[in-house]
Symmetry: C2
Subunit: 377 residues, 2 copies
């Protein structure tokens, strides 16, 4: 049969890694992204330059393919609704994208479906936020357009209210966090669900970026079962095929609260390339092709470290310490093909395979001191 | 720094899998191959259509890149000598390619370096072969141009002499084979060598193709040490950086004899993608970039099964049984992006990860009966 034509909206690193997996299958790949050299552009059969937020561009692109997927949420959902209505398979469903893209709708979705989440209120402007001091300390999050830590303000007290957003936002009571956990989930067309082992996140407070994660998470068997149950509950409620990341907090009292869900492969699943039988990208390829879901089993414990542009370095990138880093057994480098670094930019990641969490953390600490993303000009 | 420009001569499946690994690094990739849609063409930055056997084509292509490598031996070596003389890094060295491409020179090389190999004699034509009945039973192999089992005739007795080659060939005494073993070896510029665990090959007698292999080989620790020692001896003697496959026989008396060496990633190393810490392709990327060699350690025992076009099927390909195959835990599909199947054509491979050889063989037998490469027209 003819290779399945798969269209990917977005040409960043998630698309790039999806295409590395796509090359294992009998498919023809299309990527839509602006700019002439994004990370995914050199690994697809057909690169189309265009704006993923533009209705006509997305619609025209979608008409070329058998199935359309995303590697970023910030796409034109109206075009996806029209394509879906005209019989193009869209994974995940446009309705799910619409709910998730708006953090206000997303929070309300959790409430409507009995999914545990932190208390929140919607704000229309910064004056509105200022009236809600009973929610402090809180996270103020733009309802739309935030990514990678941008669009989030932490409001500890009334004195921080100048950092409140003017635009429609969600004001969430801060959770007294014990652990931050993410669970990747895949769902196929028939409703079968595969749940990955939970991963434990360690944030870099400076950039508010996920900096490091360990898989499987260092939590009890009961907590593992509970976060997997909640993650499955979210994906069952969303009712769409696809690959999803459910980010959760476990608070100091042991409660599990859903923070947010991403309807796509995610930073929290990178380590699955080496650490799990079927990676999040392989899983996405299986879903797109309507093949059986893969095994989420752990091959070896793994740790993922983001490679982030150093402070004070902007320009053509150089990876300092790569030589030393690659001498460590079980270290896998993934560079995203970005030519220019800047402070805080995600330029790549490293996966480490090891025997246990302590072994992984020891290797990660060496790596963090060795390996730097700098510019050479 | 600017991404290293890597040129690959040949655009088949080995190039395709090398490019999947290349996408983990900060490199710019060029592929030279004829035809407008070979397996590697959609995964590189620059695809150049042209004949890898043509002097001017290879020379012009080589001048564009920082380092040149191969995924097939059948390239214009004279152009590589000229490029090397003009300062282009060529991996492996052209001199090694020249020796290995000619099975006569290759056999003589083993003799000259005290490397154990089966007795042989060179023949100029079929009359010449007929005079050497004392070598029977023998394998008659074309000195140049053979691949994937083509260019090899088994001459059991004088009655088979009509199958002898007219062209210059090697007549090798048949070895009383107990096991066929391959050892992948990587060597960097400084002469450091990394040796993979030996793999054990099972041939499909019908197509004279490697059909299945198991890693690590089911041989004693002493035999493992011996085949690894011999493989290292071959690569030390060749004295070139690169990735190599040393194919060996262990005869019924327990002697290790080198059959032949490939100066590149090889069918015998496919399972390293999932089964070993650094795959043969990752290793090649490390060598090309002058990064440290990776770990050859086994993550889990693995089995590799070639997916070969079924007899009686020619035309657009269909992979029958993929759905059932992908339900088996630890099964990884690698399809090579070839649109047309024909009997005996290598269309892909499957790697299986498992606990031990028996587990792997049981899964392989199910897979072989499930999964068929057929045409749909």
């Amino acid at each position: 049969m003819k290779p399945l034509k798969i269209g990917i909206l977005g040409g960043g690193q998630l698309g790039r890694m999806l295409l590395q997996s796509a090359a294992n299958y009998h498919v023809e790949t299309y990527v839509l992204e602006s700019g002439n050299n994004p990370p995914a552009s050199s690994l697809c059969h057909h690169f189309v330059e265009g704006d993923i937020r533009d209705f006509d561009t997305v619609y025209t692109f979608g008409k070329k393919v058998d199935v359309l997927t995303i590697e970023i949420e910030n796409v034109n959902v109206d075009a996806l609704f029209k394509l879906e209505a005209e019989g193009v398979r869209v994974v995940p469903k446009p309705a799910v994208l619409q709910t998730i893209k708006d953090k206000g709708l997303q929070k309300q979705f959790y409430v409507d479906h009995g999914i545990p989440t932190s208390d929140f209120i919607l704000t229309e402007n910064e004056e509105d936020a200022k009236l809600k001091t009973e929610y402090l300390p809180a996270a103020h999050k733009l309802r739309t357009g935030g990514y990678d830590g941008k669009g989030v303000s932490i409001l500890k007290s009334a004195a921080d209210m100048d950092k409140a957003f003017k635009e429609p936002s969600v004001l969430e009571k801060l959770v007294d966090i014990d652990k931050e956990i993410a669970v990747m989930v895949a769902r196929d067309r028939k409703g079968s669900i595969a749940v990955y082992p939970p991963v434990e996140m360690v944030f870099d407070p400076k950039y508010n970026l996920v900096d490091m994660l360990v898989s499987p998470a260092d939590i009890s068997a009961a907590q593992t079962a509970e976060v997997q149950r909640v993650a499955k509950q979210v994906i069952d409620a969303l009712g769409s095929e696809g690959v999803f990341a459910v980010e959760m907090f476990i608070d100091k009292a042991g409660n599990v609260l859903v923070n947010e869900t991403a309807p796509r492969a995610h930073n929290s699943g990178h380590q699955s390339i080496e650490g799990n039988y079927s990676s999040q990208y392989d899983m996405q390829m299986r879903v797109l092709q309507q093949l059986p879901l893969g095994s989420t089993g752990t091959i070896l414990p793994s740790l993922m470290l983001n490679l982030i542009g150093e402070e004070g370095h902007s320009g053509p990138v150089r990876y300092q310490g790569l030589d030393e880093a690659l001498q460590i057994k079980g270290v896998y480098i993934h560079l995203y093909g970005k030519h220019e670094t800047k402070p805080g930019r995600k330029m790549g990641h490293v996966t480490i395979l090891g025997e246990n969490k302590n072994d992984l953390l020891a290797k990660a600490r060496s790596l963090k001191s060795l390996l730097k993303v700098v510019s050479y000009e």
